[in-house]
Symmetry: C2
DNA sequence: CCAAAAAAGTAATCACTGTTCACATTTTTT
DNA sequence: AAAAAATGTGAACAGTGATTACTTTTTTGG
C-alpha cells in the first residue's frame, strides 16, 4: 500500500488528508498493532502537523470510526462480489470471503468489532453496518448491530458465529500460527464444510 | 466486587497491591472499557502512588498479562467445574460455560484474547493458556496457543469456533443488545443445540 | 477579476499517560 | 539491634490527544 504523501514538493495543502489518515491507520496498525496507532504517528507518517488531523476528524474516535466504516464497506463489497458469482455452495464461499478478509486485513477486521473505539451514533458508520447486516441476511444473518433486530434463527446465528469465531481465532493469533495464507483458508474451508449437516434443509445452506 | 484498599488507616504498606491492581483493572475495564484502563487510574482507585505499581509489574503489559492469566485460569476453573458434573450433553454444557463466562466477565474475556496487551513469553501466562488448552481438549480442542499444536479435526475446530464466535458477538455488542443475561444464555443454548447434527458421532458430541 | 470568506494547514500549549529515579518507610533476616 | 530487602512516595521525563490563535491557500460572489 502506498501512502499518499503531499501532492508536490512542500505544498501547503495536502489535498487528500482525510483519506491519507485512514491509510496511515491501517499501515501502522498492521505493523505495530491497533493499540499502538497514534494520531501523531499517523500525521508524521503523512508528513503533516498533528493538529491538522482535527480539521478532518473531531477526535481520535472519529478517525477510528471512519476506519471501521471503511472496513465494513470493504468487507461488504467482498462478500457481494463473492455472492454475485454462481457457486455450488454459496454459504460456504461467502463465509470463506468473511474469513479471508479477516486474515488479509486483520487491522480492519479488529477495528470493525472494537466497539470502544467506535462512535455508534455516527451516520456513515450506522449505514455501513446496516448494509453489511443486509448482506449477511442473504448469507446467514438478517440484521447486524441493529437496535430492533429480529431474532436470528438458531441456524443463522450458528452460521454467523462459526464464521466469525473462526476468523477471530485466526486474527487473534490463537490459531494457525504456523500456517500460511492458503493453509489457513484450506483449514477454514474444511471447518465450514463440517458445518453442513447442521444447516441442511435451510435457506442458508 | 470490593476492592482491597489499605489494611488500616494510612498504613505505608498496602499488603495486597499486586492482587488489588488486578481487581482494579477489572473494575475499571467493566466500567469504562479495556482501552480506558490506565495504570494511574488503577493506582488512584486503590489509593497508592502510580509508581508503586512498578514494584509488582515491570510495565503495563505485564499487569495486563497477569490479568489475562487470571482470566484464563478462572475460565478453565469454570469449565472444569461444569465438566465434572454429569450432563446429558457435556459439550453443550461446557460450551455454555464458555459463553457464560464471556458474558459475565466481559473485560476478562476481551483481555485474554487481546494479544497486543499480552507478553506471550510470560511463564505464568503460557502455563495458564496451555492448561485451558488441555481442558478444551476434553471439550473440543486439543491445544491452544501452542507453537506445535496438532491440527484440530474440522469438527473440533468447528465446535470451538462456534462457541468462541458466539461469545465474541455477545461481548463485542454485535448481538443480544436487548437481551438480559438469561435471554442471552437461552439464545446461545438454542444455537449450540443446532450444532448437534455436525458433531454427531464424534467424541466431541 | 479580485476582495472576502471558507477551508486546510502550522506552532505553541495543556492535562494526562507510562516510566524512571532518588529517596523514605516498613518488614524481614542475620 | 543492625543490615538488608521489600515496598512505598514524589518529582521528573518524553509521548499522547486535544485546543487555541494564527497563517496560507482555495473557493466564491459582486
Amino acid at each position: 500500500m502506498r501512502l499518499i504523501l503531499r501532492h508536490k514538493s512542500s505544498r501547503y495543502h495536502h489535498g487528500h488528508l482525510a483519506e491519507s489518515l485512514l491509510e496511515a491507520v491501517e499501515e501502522l496498525a498492521e505493523r505495530f498493532g491497533l493499540e499502538a496507532v497514534t494520531l501523531r504517528g499517523c500525521a508524521k507518517l503523512i508528513g503533516v502537523a498533528p493538529s491538522a488531523a482535527f480539521k478532518h476528524y473531531r477526535d481520535k474516535r472519529a478517525l477510528f470510526t471512519a476506519f471501521a466504516t471503511r472496513a465494513l464497506r470493504l468487507m461488504a463489497a467482498r462478500m457481494t462480489a463473492t455472492a454475485s458469482q454462481p457457486h455450488e455452495h454459496p454459504f460456504l464461499e461467502v463465509g470463506l470471503a468473511y474469513v479471508a478478509f479477516g486474515i488479509e486485513r486483520s487491522a480492519m477486521f479488529q477495528a470493525m468489532w472494537r466497539s470502544e473505539l467506535i462512535d455508534p451514533s455516527d451516520a456513515d458508520y450506522r449505514q455501513a453496518s446496516q448494509h453489511l447486516g443486509a448482506l449477511l441476511a442473504g448469507g446467514f444473518a438478517e440484521s447486524l448491530l441493529d437496535d430492533d433486530q429480529r431474532k436470528l434463527s438458531p441456524q443463522e446465528l450458528l452460521a454467523w458465529s462459526s464464521v466469525h469465531g473462526l476468523t477471530s481465532l485466526f486474527v487473534e493469533g490463537a490459531l494457525g500460527a504456523g500456517l500460511d495464507h492458503a493453509g489457513k483458508l484450506a483449514y477454514a474451508r474444511a471447518t465450514l464444510v463440517a458445518l453442513g449437516p447442521s444447516l441442511a434443509g435451510e435457506t442458508v445452506a
